[in-house]
């Protein structure tokens, strides 16, 4: 079986629970953010190379579906940062780690992510609705 198939089917059967969930979310949020970042670097570079094209890039960013996606990109960036900090702290200061802290640390990570994300999602969601349905300029 190919390694990729193993990971997909294995993730369903493997009972890694919280740690496995944190790992998968870290990879998905990282890959999603990277995809957005590569696109974002290139479209922003048009301000120097092809200034007239920057309008087109902005039109894409202002599309309702893109704005909706952006709210989830923010969730990915927040989760990746909080979980990354958890990883870095446990790696750089192993003495902080206890077996019984492993699972609670994942729940803390998820909770902190949601708490940070909700106000951002509210403001961005309001902007999305305002510009899509209420004719905001």
């Amino acid at each position: 079986m190919s390694p990729l198939r193993t990971v997909i089917t294995g993730s369903v059967h493997y009972r890694g629970r919280e740690g496995q969930l944190a790992f998968i979310l870290h990879r998905l949020s990282g890959l999603g953010t990277l995809l957005f970042l590569a696109l974002h670097i290139l479209d922003t570079s048009t301000v120097y190379f092809f200034p007239a094209l920057y309008k087109e890039a902005l039109a894409l960013y202002r599309h309702p579906l893109f704005m909706l996606g952006e709210i989830f990109i923010v969730a990915a960036v927040l989760y990746h940062g909080v979980n990354g900090l958890r990883i870095a702290l446990f790696d750089l200061f192993p003495r902080l780690w206890r077996a019984e802290r492993e699972k609670p640390s994942v729940y803390t990570t998820l909770a902190v992510t949601v708490v940070l994300w909700l106000p951002a999602a509210f403001i961005m969601g309001r902007s999305l609705i305002g510009h899509t349905f209420l004719g905001w300029e």
């Binding site: 290139l42 120097y48 007239a52 960036v77 927040l78 403001i123 961005m124 905001w136």
Partner: protein, 136 residues
Amino acid sequence: MTTLDRTSRVVSPPPRSIDGRIWLLMRYSGIALIPLAWIHVLIQDVLVGVHRIDLDYVALRWATLGWRVYDMALLAFAFAHGMNGLRQVLEDYITRERPRRLVRWGLFAAWLVITGIGAAAIVGGVGRGAGEVDGS
């Protein structure tokens, strides 16, 4: 074999190889990216919003040297961190040596080119003939 004390954890210091240094760099750049990326997202996406961003806005922002330095640091840290992360993910699934080397050099080349394009834009600023932009 000694029994592992289940309440403690041992992390051996990273080896002095390239991979060991990259491992450490992923942690340091990750920590640096928390303020760098979050403040960027907070200002541009949440507080300002994409509907108030245009060439004039970019020109105004880049009129301050500090923001150019900030954007340069964000570009350098974020994209390198991300591309190395992608390398790690791919290397988990590509086990043969030749395709692996191909992926490494391919990602390195893509990283270099895209970082170069982004850096050129940050140094160059908003291009001439951009309309009402207050250029030199």
